[in-house]
Amino acid sequence: MPDVVIDVRGLTKVYRVHERQEGLGATLRSVLRRTFKEVPAVTDATFRIDAGEVVGFLGPNGAGKTTTLKMLSGLLYPTAGEARVVGHVPWRREGDFLRAITLLMGNRTQLVWDIAAADSLRVLQEIYGIPEERYRATLGELTELLDLGPLLHKPVRNLSLGERMKVEFAAGLIHSPRVAFLDEPTLGLDVSMQSRIRRFVAEHNRRAGTTILLTSHYMDDVVALCKRVIVIHRGRLLYDGELGELAQRMAPYKVITVALRDGAGSAFLDDLGTVVSREEARVTLRVPREHTAERTARIVRELEGDLVDISVEDPPIEEVIDRVFQGAV
């Protein structure tokens, strides 16, 4: 049985935020009497992640993803609930815990801006107490996977965004953490660099067995890396399971795409489902999941001679996620 490395039960974070109405009167009143409102960022989150898993943590902006990652990495104290990461309560911030995790944020830097990344890595070597041999081996592996060679000796301020993200990864993983929290690691990167980072994360997970909890707005990241996803919306977990089952559970329809000879019989399809697009001889329609087999059979039977091609698929994952976030499910 695999080890549970992240165990979260009823985790809740409520921010207390100063509230002020607009206008001079309200401003003056707020000087004398400040009013606060409580904003729940994460409510009663419960999940477990086993050693070596790569889990996608999905949600729109403000859903509570980053707050959860900050609690699990020990930066924030929760309002309620419990969590154990590699056997430690994160917010106690014990040395062994901090040596076992990393939190990488796509829009933040942990490297010293004015000096070469190689010098910052040396400092990290001493802070984490990494023996020289292991340090060289890990850095060699990271250099190979990320193609860091030419980047390590330039001042960080002279690196492009993509180059900086690569050395950030090196800095975050140089101590070989057992758990990596990756918050939007491909944010702002071009398509090619996104792809390289994805390949690196997958390969690093394969080689080192690092447990990864990843947030990303790019579904390509999630599809490429995560078998399992946790969906959070307005602070509450909506789904925790296989990525492949997300559509089945969250989208009550399937997508049938029909290619017709010269567009003949296209009008017939209007009665079988919701037509999503109609491009020349190609029609795409949504059909309730439970009627998919019967409607597909009818299309094949009725359009017999005019049918060139037909496919039945789950809706694209982006569409499913969007429906979840829009509250349509």
Binding site: K70, Y77, L98, V112, D114, D119, R122, V123, Q125, Y128
Partner: protein, 269 residues
């Protein structure tokens, strides 16, 4: 006691600190030179006042005033603390969080940066202080005993200033407008530390208040010992006072830091 691991960490931080400071070497020395301006103005003003009163100001001759402010320049330099400004910026910019995620307390980075800056800029500060001493014919009643006790006192003064600097820096956990609180702190230090004038020249009640607050133990006490303004017995008692204030500062810092971490909302982090 520092273990082998701590020594290696500090050695790496010092190397990194040198690299960072060397990237800003010009501004580094400019900041150090700015720190002379205020003591020189007060020195010139008090010398002028003394001249108008027959060459003396209370127990201070013009040469004694010169000696006091020359030592003040050196001790002010040693006790400089700026973390209340840096820390708020770190929280706002989100650069505190990566430090909190490492198994090394963030104060260690500040200790190294603080000590390195003082060591490097001393190359500019000491010659200027000597030139001022010669120009104003400064007089010192310092004995070897004063030098030894004064060195301890100067380190304690710098430590008190550093620790209280972090106590006030930690206010940034609660508010992103630390400047208002820090301005109050700095104004109090300005009046009660001995920056304006030797503390013994303050009116009786103000002197009593000054000696009951930590500021005098950051600057006035080491200055008086180093210029030989007090006998060694009195100086030793003052050093005991410094030890007490340092202990109070450390205790206060631990409480505020622990409470601040609970409060930390990782703004923009």
């Amino acid at each position: 006691m520092l273990g082998q691991g701590s020594i290696r960490v500090y050695r790496a931080l010092i190397t990194q600190g040198f690299q960072v400071l060397s990237a800003y070497r010009v501004s580094l020395f400019l900041y150090a030179l700015f720190s002379f301006i205020r003591p020189i103005i007060f020195l010139a003003a008090w010398v002028a006042v003394a001249e108008s009163q027959g060459g003396r100001l209370g127990a201070f001759s013009k040469a004694d005033i010169g000696g006091y402010f020359v030592i003040t320049i050196l001790v002010t330099h040693l006790s400089a603390a700026w973390d209340f400004f840096e820390f708020e910026f770190e929280i706002r910019r989100g650069s505190l969080s990566p430090k909190l995620l490492r198994p090394l307390h963030p104060i260690n980075y500040a200790i190294v940066q603080n000590v390195l800056w003082k060591l490097i800029t001393s190359l500019a500060v000491v010659p200027v202080a000597i030139a001022i001493a010669i120009t104003f014919e400064a007089r010192f009643a310092t004995t070897p005993g004063h030098v030894a006790l004064g060195a301890v006192s100067a380190v304690l003064g710098a430590s008190i200033a550093f620790v209280f600097g972090w106590v006030f820096a930690s206010v940034a956990f609660w508010t992103t407008r630390v400047h208002a609180v820090v301005t109050l702190y700095q104004r109090a230090a300005f009046i009660f530390a001995g920056q304006i004038a030797p503390l013994t020249l303050l009116p009786g009640p103000l002197f009593a208040v000054a000696m009951a607050l930590p500021f005098a133990y950051m600057l006035g006490v080491p200055t008086e010992i180093l210029r030989g303004g007090v006998d060694l017995g009195t100086g030793a008692l003052m050093v005991v006072g410094q030890v007490v204030w340092l202990a109070v500062g450390i205790a206060l810092y631990r409480v505020v830091w622990a409470a601040g971490l609970r409060q930390y909302s990782a703004v923009g982090a």
